[in-house]
Amino acid sequence: MLEVRDLYVDYGKIAAVRGVSFSVGAGEIVAVIGANGAGKTSTLNAAAGIIRPTEGDIRFNGETMTGHAAHRYIREGIVQVPEGRMIFRTLTVLENLQVGAYRLGSYLLGRASPEDVLQRFPMLADRLHEPASNLSGGQAQMLAVARGLMAKPSLLLLDEPTLGLSPIAVEEVFNLISALRSEGLTILIVEQNVRRTLAVADRGYVVEGGRIVLQGSADDLSRDDRLVARYLGVDDGSLRQRARKGRLR
């Protein structure tokens, strides 16, 4: 479904992604794992057309996407739920959902109806006309995913969907991911919660210093000694701290 080959992303002199190749098949959940600053978000942003890669080839359903802008990607069905949720706090919950359907919408707003998406999020349905700033972190993440689903994606990119959430909310996010997958949605996910992510994913890629250092099925990866030692041997919180201090290598 998605084929990315030899992807390079530079920010001025800083090379964030240095030759990453990966693929996502229809119906799969593929995880991208790595420490902070490994180049995961840049990879995802390039795959969604948010940033233009310096080099590389991106194909979606056989069609070349490289060089197109984000709105073209969305029209083709590639939708990203950004890191940090990025919901519109001054807009209502309903308006946030309508922004999600922006690319499909007609000139008047009334027609972008969120009913299909809302069936999955009863909590949001109850609060449609409240400003999104009223939502808790977990609810805001649900809104961010719901907003992405409004664009009717065939490939959903999730960037750190559980970052900063309570354990209960983390649970809800992973339940949602499983539910979406069972309905046939293809998902590419970047997550720090490696254990939980590999439990729902089919395959995974481990990124370090802008390169893929390890890849394989989720089962193999969760048994891989190197990965276990580095990402699974410690709980995620202290992993994050160590990664931030740069002691991980």
């Binding site: 984000a70 739920v81 519109f88 707003l109």
Partner: protein, 299 residues
């Protein structure tokens, strides 16, 4: 009491035109967090185009109105391309400085187009006014107020009932998040500029038709009034622009009536100063002021 109410009515009428100009500033500030100092001069040049066809071709008032609005939009597009789009990745101050430079350019163009200082500007209706009880409603003011209310209603529908309005509000809050949803911020900003120019052209026509004359200083005057009204009401706040414009109009007409013309501007600066000391974000702009302050704290 009759005097007070009468001056309030006059103030609200002229204030409704200030509101429209403040709306133009606030729409652009809202989507870009940048100030377009050339906004007033763009309206002035549009009005000069209008008065030019009036003076040279003896055009009908409605045609002058159309040319004024269309001229303002054309100049607005030029300003957007040069001062905002071309340097959109540079610091916000760069846009303000270059919009000041373009201001000078627009004034030059106006004086080349019509070298004199003052030109007549046609009014829409020749009738004097209506009397209701002890109150007198000048026809120009009735027109101004009616058109301003119409524009506000249309703008509200546009912002809250259309896809473009939603995109504009989304970009105002967070252009990066809007881009993730397939909105092209550059396009939304361009359209917001066209919209602001359209509103400015209408406001300019109404104000000048009430004065029945236009000078190159109208640009400076309109930028001042619009900025003061916007800051009174709150930067980037649409209800704030409306409230700010109305308050400015009432303050001016009351001081003019009770203290004389000389104190008109002084009193409005004084009120603006007090508002900004007590509520730094303007009367209704506190939310935006706080968000910006938070953003600075994060840096």
């Amino acid at each position: 009491m009759v005097d007070f109410i009468q001056t309030t009515i006059d103030g609200l009428s002229i204030g409704s035109a200030y509101s429209l100009i403040a709306l133009g500033f606030t729409l652009v500030f809202g989507v870009m967090r940048r100030i377009n100092l050339s906004y007033g001069p763009s309206i002035m040049l549009g009005a000069f185009a209008g008065t030019w066809i009036f003076v040279t071709l003896d055009a009908q008032p409605w045609l002058v109105a159309a040319v004024t609005v269309a001229g303002t939009v054309a100049v607005g597009v030029y300003v957007e391309r040069v001062c905002f789009w071309a340097i959109r990745r540079d610091a916000a101050i760069a846009s303000m400085v270059s919009s000041f430079v373009i201001w000078m350019q627009l004034e030059e163009v106006a004086t080349i187009l019509l070298p004199g200082r003052t030109y007549p500007f046609p009014e829409l209706f020749r009738t004097g006014g209506v009397e209701i009880g002890p109150y007198f409603f000048r026809m120009e003011y009735v027109t101004t107020l009616t058109v301003a209310i119409l524009v506000l209603v249309m703008l509200r529908l546009l912002l809250f009932k259309t896809r473009f309005g939603l995109a504009l509000r989304a970009v105002s809050e967070n252009p990066a998040a809007a881009a993730y949803m397939g909105i092209r911020p550059g396009r939304v900003i361009f359209r917001a500029f066209v919209l602001a120019s359209l509103i400015g052209g209408i406001a300019g026509y109404l104000l000048l038709a009430a004065d029945q004359q236009v000078t190159p200083y109208f640009g400076l005057w309109a930028t001042f009034k619009g900025l003061i009204a916007m800051m009174l009401g709150g930067m980037g706040s649409i209800p704030g622009a409306v409230v700010g414009g109305l308050i400015l109009g009432v303050i001016e007409s009351q001081t003019q009536w009770y203290l004389g013309n000389a104190y008109k501007d002084l009193s409005s600066y004084l009120v603006l100063f007090m508002v900004l000391v007590l509520r730094p974000g303007g009367l209704l702009g506190q939310g935006i002021a706080e968000r910006e302050a938070q953003a600075f704290r994060r840096i």
